[in-house]
Structure formats: C-alpha cells, structure tokens
C-alpha cells in the first residue's frame, strides 16, 4: 500500500496546508507554496483539501504504484503520464497497481501538486505532514525525496475518473506576473522616490528562489532616508534590530534585491521590510520560474481583503463543482 520512488525529480517534498503555531520558536508554517492548487488536487481525487501531496519543483518524479489509486496533478503545467501515456492536468485519472507515473517537461509554472487518493501518509509532526527541510522536520524523514524511498498511502476511496477543474478556476500568474503588496513595516526607511521606483520597475525572479523566499533583481536600488543607526541594529542603512518577518514580507538587504519570504521563511532577522505581499497572491509566487518579469502592485488593506475573498470564492467554486 505504497508508492515506490524510482526517480525523485529535482526537489520533491511532501506538503499539506502547513504547520501554524510554532513561528515564535523559528519553525515556519511550511506547506504547499501554491495551496490553492494543492487543495484542488486533493478535491479532485476525493481527499480532504488539506491531505498531504507531493510538491514537485520544475521537474516531476517517477513513481511506481503498488496499489490502484486515483491521481490528479495541478499547479504547474507538468504533463503527467501513466506508463508513458499522456494524462490531462487538473483532472483525476487512475493509476493501477504496478503502473508508473512519470512526467513530461515543464511547460508553464514552477510547482506541480500530485495528489493521490488517501493522501501521502507520513507521520504527523506538530500537527502537519509538511516537510521543513532546513530543520529536518516532518514530511518524509524531514527531507526531499530520493530514489528508493517508499511513500505510505492513506486509505482512500476511488472517485470517478475524468473529474476536472474548469479552466477559469485554474489560477496562474500573468505576464508580467503581478504581486499585490501592502506597503508598511519599515516603508518609511526608503525615500518617496525610491518607493515610486519600486512599484514602477519591472523586476525579474532571481535564480535564488525557493521555499524560504523568492529573490528579485533588475529594478533600481532603493535610496534610504538618512539616519543614525539605532543601538543594536548594525551600520548598513537597511539594518534593523533583528525582528520577526511576516510571511510574504518584502525585505531589501542593502536596498538592492527584494526578497519575498514564503512558507519555509526564516522567522526573523536584521533587514528592513518595506511591505508584505497579500495573502491571496502567495500562491502565485510558488508558480514563478527564474527570470519571470514581475511587477509589485501597491494595494490598500481593503483591496487585500477583497483579493482574499476572491481567492476563497475560487476555492469554494472548485469544491462545489467536485462535491
């Protein structure tokens, strides 16, 4: 009652909706970076929205099934194949005992979510099955998958094949990608002109982009408002007395390359943050490839809450269609 990992892909981890409640001791929430896609994959195969799935980055794994199961792949356009036969994305399909699930080349997006009926049944650690690799915690032995791993599966029913998520409910970043951001935190540390430039410029996703955070480059450096460094902060104008970092917060070390922290965030540090990407757009970051042109879009709290409600309605519509 398991899946044999023949090839692990580039960086495939077990993730669910995350592990909130331990950020105050430096353990981040983890969980899927694109949780909307993660939830959709689960609903397609008849799981609870928060069951554990595989998150595959840029490249899919090769998996041998030792039992019949329903599978759905959402998120990135990472074409699934069963014994070499193409299968549709965002659609439930059957994999029989002994068959191998593999993937074609990535066409769009960055992270595919592979849900299997019954869910990936690794032990629950601090309330979640998500992998936090930096702390070697949760998931499959606290790490990304390797060839030879055997993934236990939970008990699931076989739902009908061919259930699918309508195309207009599949959310993906546009071109350029737009990330809505609420200015705040240490926004006052940069000049007004720097603030205008930040939103005007088109940034590009840097190669250093992972579950901890996404770095962006190619925009103009930010100028700081002059100050005398406060005791304990450090001498660089971007330094602050080490503080907590919100999920989605945008820190700009030395004013050059913004970093947006994500689900495996370092929980704090000494760089000023100029705002926070709204909760509704965190999913989109998980689907950005390196070099993707990206704009930060200034929003108000009201707009952030509307975006959050829209995202919730999308998930509700998916759940309703698959109920």
């Amino acid at each position: 009652m398991a899946i044999n990992v023949l090839k692990p892909g580039l960086s495939t981890t077990v993730q669910d909706l995350g592990r909130p409640g331990y950020y105050h001791i430096g353990i981040p929430t983890s969980g899927g970076m694109d949780t909307l896609s993660l939830a959709a994959a689960n609903l397609l195969v008849g799981n609870d929205a928060g069951a554990a799935v595989l998150e595959a980055v840029f490249m899919g794994p090769e998996l041998e099934f030792t039992q019949d199961a329903m599978v759905a792949v959402t998120g990135a356009d990472l074409p699934p194949k069963v014994d070499g036969q193409d299968q549709p994305g965002w659609t439930a399909f059957k994999v029989k005992k002994g068959q191998v699930l593999s993937f074609g080349f990535l066409k769009k997006g960055a992270r595919g979510y592979i849900a299997v009926s019954g869910g990936i049944d690794v032990p629950v650690v601090l309330g979640s099955r998500s992998t936090y690799t930096l702390g070697a915690l949760g998931g499959f032995e606290g790490r990304k998958l390797a060839a030879g791993d055997v993934l236990p599966l939970g008990k699931g029913a076989l739902v009908a094949e061919g259930r699918s998520v309508a195309e207009d409910l599949r959310r993906a970043p546009g071109a350029p990608a737009e990330l809505r951001m609420l200015p705040g935190l240490y926004w006052h540390r940069i000049t007004e002109q720097a603030g205008r430039n930040f939103f005007e410029d088109t940034w590009k996703v840097a190669p250093e982009a992972d579950r901890i955070g996404y770095r962006f480059k190619a925009g103009r450096p930010l100028d700081f408002v002059p100050r005398t460094p406060p005791f304990g902060a450090g001498s660089d104008p971007s330094n602050i007395v080490d503080a907590c970092y919100p999920y989605g917060s945008v820190q700009v070390p030395s004013g050059t390359e913004p970093i947006v922290l994500h689900r495996d965030a370092v929980s704090g540090g000494g760089y000023m943050m100029i705002g926070t990407v709204v909760s509704a757009d965190m999913d989109l970051i998980g689907q950005l490839q390196p070099h993707t042109p990206t704009k930060f879009v200034k929003v108000t709290m009201e707009q952030a809450l509307t975006a959050r409600a829209d995202r919730r309605k999308t998930l509700e519509a998916i759940a309703k269609a698959l109920a």
Binding site: G142, A243, C244, P246, G268
Partner: protein
C-alpha cells in the same frame, strides 16, 4: 519609547516597541505578548516576541484587521500597568570557547572577515578592549544573558547581555556571510549572541561551541522529548566555560541519554535590575545553585 504599529499584509500586525535595542523595549514586548496570549482573542494564530518588537499573525476571516489592531492597542495600556517582573528560568549552557571546529571554519572563510590575520574571538576581544581570549571569556561568561528572541531557524536563540550598555560586547557580522557554520556554534553579531541550532549559513562571529543540543526534531535527546526546541523568549542563560575534556565527556553523556542541563526557576525584576545590575545578576545566577 513610542510603540509603532504597522500591518504586515492582511494577516500580520508588526509592533516595534523601540527602534533601538534595550531591555526596556524587550520587556514591553514580553508584557504585551503575554497579555495578548492571556486574552485568547479568537482569530489570533501566532504570537512572536522579538528583541525590541513583536509580531501577531491573525486570520482576517475571523477578526477584521482594524478590530485586531484596536484590541492590540488596548492591551498596550493593560501591559503598561503590569509589574515588570518575569517568572522565568535560568539555563546553564556549557561552552568550549576557542574550540578547534569553529576555529577551522573561521579559517576556511577568512577572506570574508574584517580581520583575516586574526581569529573571531581575538578580533572581538581587541575591538572591545578586552584582555585577550581569557579576558573575553571572562566578560562573555561573567553575566547572564536574556533570550530576547527565538527564530531565524528552528530553535535558534538570540541573547542579550544583561549588563549596562558600556560593558556590552559588540562586534560586526562577517563582511559576507559564510556558507557553513558548525551546529551548536556560539556566535555573536551586533550586540546579540546566538546559538546555531542547526549547521548552515551564518554571518555571526564564532566564539565557541556547546556540547548541549538545543533542537532535536527526532526528540531522542533526553531533555528534548517533551518538546524539540529548548529555548523560549524570556529564558535566561548563564554560559559556563569548559575545556576539551568536559566537552568530550558531555557529548558522550548526551549521546548515552544520561545528561541533563542545569535549569532552575527564577524571578527577574526589571526595577531591581535597573537599581543594581551586578547584585541582581548575582542573585539570578545563584538560582542555579539552588539558592
């Protein structure tokens, strides 16, 4: 000290008690976060104290951001009238200062350091006008330290030296961060000490290493079976200098499941501390001896 409130997106409120680090700012953050925890406000999901600030995460579907902000600001008044005493614990942390492993790592990344011809501990002793390595160890381990924040990575404590500002050890971070730091390195950046809970990148000066694990996700370490992280914000730490022999012995005892850290309950009063730093510290450290 004016408290500054700001939203971190639609799910966080970030509160800066003071721009600069001080024990007063840390205490104010502790008392507001304690009051917030006690208030059990529906929709609050994370309460994270930091050095001179703190952060609250909430679910805006349960409590509207403006309402969350209003309730948090109301708590500041409650917290201000609370006595600034803290019932906490003191933990003795053995440190093998100037050990061979952090020394080797320091040498590997020497070109990233302010003073490539020196070691981290010699350099920090010099810029703080301390009498060599021995003088440094005396200053570092002579007074207790407050765990003012736990984070960056799992279980990593930031510590603030409980002496007046003139006596605080300060040192810059490496010019460029290292890509490697031994697990359980005792580090220092700005005015903060830290213990690296896991091996990894780091920019703090490296002074020594402790044989005492502080994070164990498998929870096989005897004293981490109840919870995988040892430290909480508000803990007090006393460094105990040890040599190679005791280091090796402690590592073996920890592995054999026979070792327990020395921990004692202690009450700390900010007023008493402000009046008599050294006397208060002596009393706090005495708690380790059962007094």
């Amino acid at each position: 000290m004016t408290t500054r409130y700001t939203f971190g997106g639609d799910e966080h409120i970030f509160v800066e008690c003071s721009e600069e680090m001080s024990l007063d700012a840390f205490f104010r953050g502790m008392s507001i976060t304690n009051a917030l925890r006690d208030a059990k406000i529906k929709g609050v999901t994370e309460i994270c104290p930091a050095n001179a600030s703190f952060q609250v995460r909430f679910n805006p579907d349960i409590i509207a951001p403006d309402e969350m902000m209003r309730q948090l600001k109301a708590l500041e008044a409650v917290a201000q009238s609370a006595p600034s005493t803290l019932n906490t614990r003191i933990i003795e942390v053995p440190v093998y200062y100037n050990d061979p492993w952090t020394h080797e790592t320091g040498q590997r990344f020497r070109e990233r350091h302010q003073d490539p011809s020196s070691t981290d501990i010699e350099y920090t002793a010099r810029i703080n006008n301390l009498d060599g390595i021995d003088g440094f160890i005396k200053a570092h381990s002579g007074a207790p330290w407050f765990v003012s924040m736990v984070g960056f990575v799992a279980g990593l404590p930031f510590l603030y030296q409980m002496v007046d500002r003139d006596r605080q050890i300060q040192s810059p971070k490496y010019l460029r961060p290292r890509t490697d730091t031994p697990r359980l390195t005792v580090g220092h950046g700005g005015c903060f000490a830290c213990i690296y809970s896991v091996r990894g990148a780091g920019g703090y000066q490296m002074f020594g290493i402790t044989p005492m694990p502080i994070y164990d996700p498998n929870q096989t370490t005897t004293y981490l079976r109840d919870f995988m992280c040892l430290f909480k914000p508000g803990d007090i730490v006393k460094w105990k200098p040890i040599g190679r022999e005791e280091y090796d012995h402690t590592v073996a005892e920890v592995d054999a499941g026979r070792w327990q850290p020395r921990i004692a309950p202690v009450t700390f009063s900010l007023e008493a501390f402000a009046k008599d730093i050294d006397g208060t510290n002596a009393r706090v450290m005495e708690a380790l001896n059962g007094h």
